[in-house]
Amino acid sequence: MDYATLLQLLDTTIRLATPLLFACLAGLYSERAGIFDIGLEGKMLMAAMASASVAYLTGSVWMGVLAGIGASLILAGIHGIASITFRGNQLISGVALNFVASGITVLVAQRLFAQGGRTPPLEGDARFAPITLPFAAALRDVPVIGPLYYEVISGHPFLVYLGFLTVPLTWWVLYRTRFGLRLRAVGENPAAVDTAGISVVGLRFAAVAITGVLCGLAGAYMATALQAGFGREMTAGRGYIALAALIFAKWRPVAALWACLLFGFFQALALRPDVVEGVLQFKVPVTFLDALPYVLTVLVLAGFVGKAIPPRAGGEPYVKER
């Protein structure tokens, strides 16, 4: 494998890791606050459909992103009502909303555009254009670093850079702000937070809302940046890979970045079986690469790669003492 191929692979890795990263950080806020969310997939799908539809109809990608966030927030709200207000089973609620999203996205897209559940392809301002970072062209001829900067780091749509900036932001929010401290506390010991006079319900709803916004960005990126439009089931299990990445990263933001890049790299490799074969000197089935994130996550869960301990109060509804 030569340097140019490696750069191509890394470029694809970054593009494919971005939706995982948004969704993974989304799950991180929710789960750190004690609300399990296996509905990341459904929220991404809803956001992808809404953003592609609105971007097509208005011709503005920004309106599309807003619509995507809105659609994702609706599902997040239902999840919040079911699991916080009515203390329902969070896992079942997530499963249910994934199904609702899977069906309703096709229904709406079919109603709006009558193209078999797809949106028409997005063009021009309805899509995110790549941003060329400063000096990218000028530095292109510098050996090694130049092409790396030009090919891999520069030339992505806005949401990619936003996704990567969300990582330090999340770290800062979680570990350096009062809100973050309370958020982490409510996922470990909600009774203590309640005793301190802080609303458990309020904090958890805030966390679920942040999850909604980030899943909205993940879905909007899928439909308006990575691809040009919505297609049925276009998220293709990415919500679950993000969940796997979250466990792999042991619910920590910076580790989440590395986990998403790793899983994104596997996805990039799965697109280039020729490269894999060239490096390993034998044929690897593509499906093996597809399954790798899940296998690795099981290994992590099994405790072979350090122990993954979820937030202690995760999945349990909080009942205020009377």
Partner: protein
């Protein structure tokens, strides 16, 4: 807080949940500019009005009974087995290997062998998540989700690269030999009085019903079943009573995986006659809805399976005869899971209020 009478909790709560799901589904149909009344007419016409429709409804219901029972059994041990889909796919692999590579003289023996293979493969696929839950404390929901994806990747690999006969384009095994074909309901005596044309529902339906009785007997009539339910209610109390948590977790999950795997005799052996990609086609997940709707009782599971068989067959008819896409049935499925599984407290609270108001009214009358 006042309590609901037992009959209301058992019957009324699922019915009201179903009604709420139906109302939202009707609103969705109106929102996409279609007529909900027309939709329900088409669904009933296509799935319940003649032997042909029932043949499909019961065929789907058979699959859902197995996956629903699988979820139910694990639920009683307080384990949420969301991996029925993967276990059913592996069950399909077991059926395919048994049918393709063993010489069966008659379908009865083939059925026995294939059932065992399906159960073994399904159980094997549940074994690793069960072990990790019991020994390492890894959350069973997450591991079974991961195993669904690993199963689907494994099957794609096997069907594309290993089991596909030379010269065939689509990723599937060769057709099973003639001797392994199961009789469909229109070929069985007595049943053929009602099912006059060829239907996919087959003799597996009877096995599913037997499995429902078996699960009931296991859970409520044996020592093991008692241990499973005790463990599910309170792990600490069960431990104190000398019940081994590792053993119960393993047994419950293995049985659950075996039940999910056995679904494959219905669709892979009874209907397709070969193993196709994505053979379980979502039935593993519908098992969750069926178990929730059936309140985790085998009788409830059988009834809920028929309801979902109707939804599935009716949904296919919608896709064929109306402008409502077939995906409508996925929405309904999601709504039923949402209302019966996650918003059940809301429904119960609503009903409790209504009952309290009713009783209050009576008491006031009595005072006068």
């Amino acid at each position: 807080m006042e309590r609901l009478p037992k009959w209301a909790d058992l019957v009324l709560v699922p019915l009201v949940s179903l009604l709420l799901a139906a109302i939202i589904a009707a609103l969705v149909i109106i929102a996409i500019g279609q007529d909900p009344w027309e939709a329900i007419t088409v669904m009933v016409q296509g799935s319940l009005m003649d032997g042909y429709g029932w043949g499909y409804t019961l065929y789907y219901a058979t699959s859902f009974m197995f996956t629903g029972l699988a979820v139910t059994l694990a639920f009683h041990a307080s384990l949420f087995n969301i991996g029925g889909e993967g276990q059913a796919q592996l069950g399909g692999l077991g059926v395919a290997l048994a049918c393709l590579f063993l010489p069966w003289p008659h379908w009865t023996l083939a059925l026995l062998g294939a059932t065992l293979a399906a159960a073994l493969f399904g159980a094997a696929w549940a074994a690793v998540p069960a072990y990790l839950q019991a020994k390492r404390g890894s959350h069973i929901v997450i591991t079974t989700i991961m195993f669904n994806y690993i199963a689907s990747a494994l099957l794609i690999f096997l069907l594309v690269d290993v089991l596909r006969p030379d010269g065939q384009m689509d990723p599937a095994t060769a057709n099973f030999p003639e001797a392994t074909a199961l009789p469909t309901l229109n070929q069985l005596p007595l049943f053929n009085l009602f099912f006059t044309s060829k239907v996919p529902a087959n003799i597996t339906l009877l096995i599913a019903l037997a499995a429902a009785v078996g699960v009931w007997a296991l859970l409520w009539r044996t020592r093991l079943g008692y241990s499973i339910r005790a463990f599910g209610k309170s792990e600490d109390a069960a431990k104190y009573a000398g019940i081994n948590p590792f053993r119960i977790t393993m047994i419950a999950m293995l049985l659950s995986g075996a039940l999910a795997g056995m679904m494959a005799i219905n669709n892979v052996m009874g209907e397709a006659g070969r193993l196709l990609q994505n053979s379980a086609s979502g039935a593993g997940f519908i098992g969750i809805a069926v178990a929730l709707m059936g309140r985790n009782h085998p009788l409830g599971v059988v009834l809920a399976s028929i309801l979902f068989g109707f939804l599935f067959q009716g949904g296919a008819e919608l896709g064929m005869w109306t402008k409502i896409p077939i995906e409508m049935r996925v929405v309904v499925q999601g709504l039923v899971i949402l209302f019966t599984g996650a918003l059940d407290v809301m429904v119960r609270m609503m009903l409790t209020r209504i009952f309290a108001a009713f009783r209050g009214g009576k008491a006031a009358k009595g005072a006068v």
